[in-house]
Symmetry: C2
Subunit: 256 residues, 2 copies
């Protein structure tokens, strides 16, 4: 089927926050991200635009409602050179519902950079994480940049949004995740030895390590030791170290 | 002193590779990066451009040859909104000379992305790393984007460039760093348990895990276990995990 004029302007409009808000849709570029979307939320996909090559490079079952366009037409629609010839348009996924799963919840507090957000999402997914929670003030995980940086990994996680860190903590506690940790650049227990760090816990990254959660529940501070005395890890690097410490501990304990 | 017209066009020209090649200079933006440069290579600094506010925010000793410009003039020169009102221009630092120091050498092979390169440099520095080696085909560590992403951490490391991985391996071996490891996304020993990983070793990240080094010396492959079965770590995240595994091991062994 051909790409209609209406669809074409929707694809373009979705690179802006306004366009997403008005349509309630998101735009998902690249082979990997589109695959994630199709696998996890097929019912939300409105249509997929691809070049002949892009469509051929998509592994697995071909998407329904596929619009084939020329390389030239595609270029006009693509956000980057890495779009790989395929873009899917979908209704923005609703917040995850149902039971909370996994060993620990990764909570991003007011994380404003889409590149960092996306990188954390991918890394968490690579490590086998399940629950990615975030607070208001973070960037929109369904924005085109965040999806690109995350390579669509957000479609495969349980994403839940909260108005405040206190609300987030409350939901976690009532779900049996009662141990709170805040990654702190200045003080705290070492993330490499801190007991119970991944034991039905919530680990908060980014934003200000503010008092909101402290008011709700006693939170322990964890720090990443930096022998270089060069304090310079960004949120994505800090999250990566902590996330893979969970992998290391699990393997050391004989887990799969 | 005022910024001359010649200096002004140099500052602008240094955002391009051509401009750097012609002048042999690099451009260093932001409070932190400028401080690193001034602390490590004061003799290479040609001049520093700053707004009143930028100059005041620079900790420590004020740079010589300071050019104060208006906020408006500065905006025209700045590469990003994060320039923080200060840019230093310096001769590109020569390759590090002298003895090889530190527990292990981090080697970046044909790493083409300045953001990744910079992030790795910062992270390595935070972990107390010393020797950052790289091969031809990697981006220029003294490019403005790499310096920005690295926050100037490259000025505080021993940076050495090699034509090939084989040359790099040869220099390492002759300096007493004879254990070679290549981070491999597909197979190898776990980075969390692999013995000797940081014991007078070279760890190669990025590029193709090609046969060049294999031809020179037997290299062991290390892998980052990913229980998520979602293979998606970029070079910067992979490097971060390995670099901080070295910190963890050192602390576990009772080192400071």
């Amino acid at each position: 089927m051909e790409l209609s004029r209406r669809e074409k302007s929707l694809v373009k409009a979705l690179t802006t926050r306004n366009g997403r808000r008005r349509s309630g849709c998101c735009r998902c570029e690249g082979v990997r991200a589109v695959r994630e979307l199709l696998d996890n939320f097929p019912q939300l996909v409105q249509f997929t635009v691809a070049t002949e090559r892009g469509a051929a490079s998509l592994p697995g079952k071909a998407p329904e409602d596929l619009r084939i366009v020329s390389e030239k037409e595609f270029e006009e629609l693509a956000g980057t050179v890495n779009s790989q010839g395929v873009i899917a348009i979908a209704t923005i996924p609703p917040d995850a519902a149902g039971e909370v799963a996994g060993e620990f919840i990764l909570a991003l507090d007011q994380l404003g950079d889409p590149g960092n957000f996306g990188t954390i999402v991918r890394t968490f997914r690579a490590a086998g994480g399940k629950e990615l929670w975030y607070t208001k003030g973070s960037i929109d995980p369904w924005g085109d940049k965040a999806i690109r940086s995350g390579m669509g990994a957000q479609f495969g996680l349980k994403m839940r949004r909260f108005e405040t860190l206190a609300e987030l903590a409350e939901k976690a506690a009532s779900s049996g995740y009662g141990n709170f940790f805040i990654a702190d650049p200045h003080e705290g227990e070492s993330c490499f030895t801190c007991p119970g760090l991944f034991d039905k816990s919530v680990i908060v990254i980014g934003g200000e390590p503010n008092g909101v959660m402290e008011n709700y529940a006693p939170a322990r501070r964890v720090i990443i030791p930096m022998p270089g005395d060069y304090e310079s890890l960004n949120a994505a690097q800090a999250a990566t170290i902590i996330i893979f410490e969970s992998v290391r501990r699990k393997l050391a304990a004989g887990g799969k």
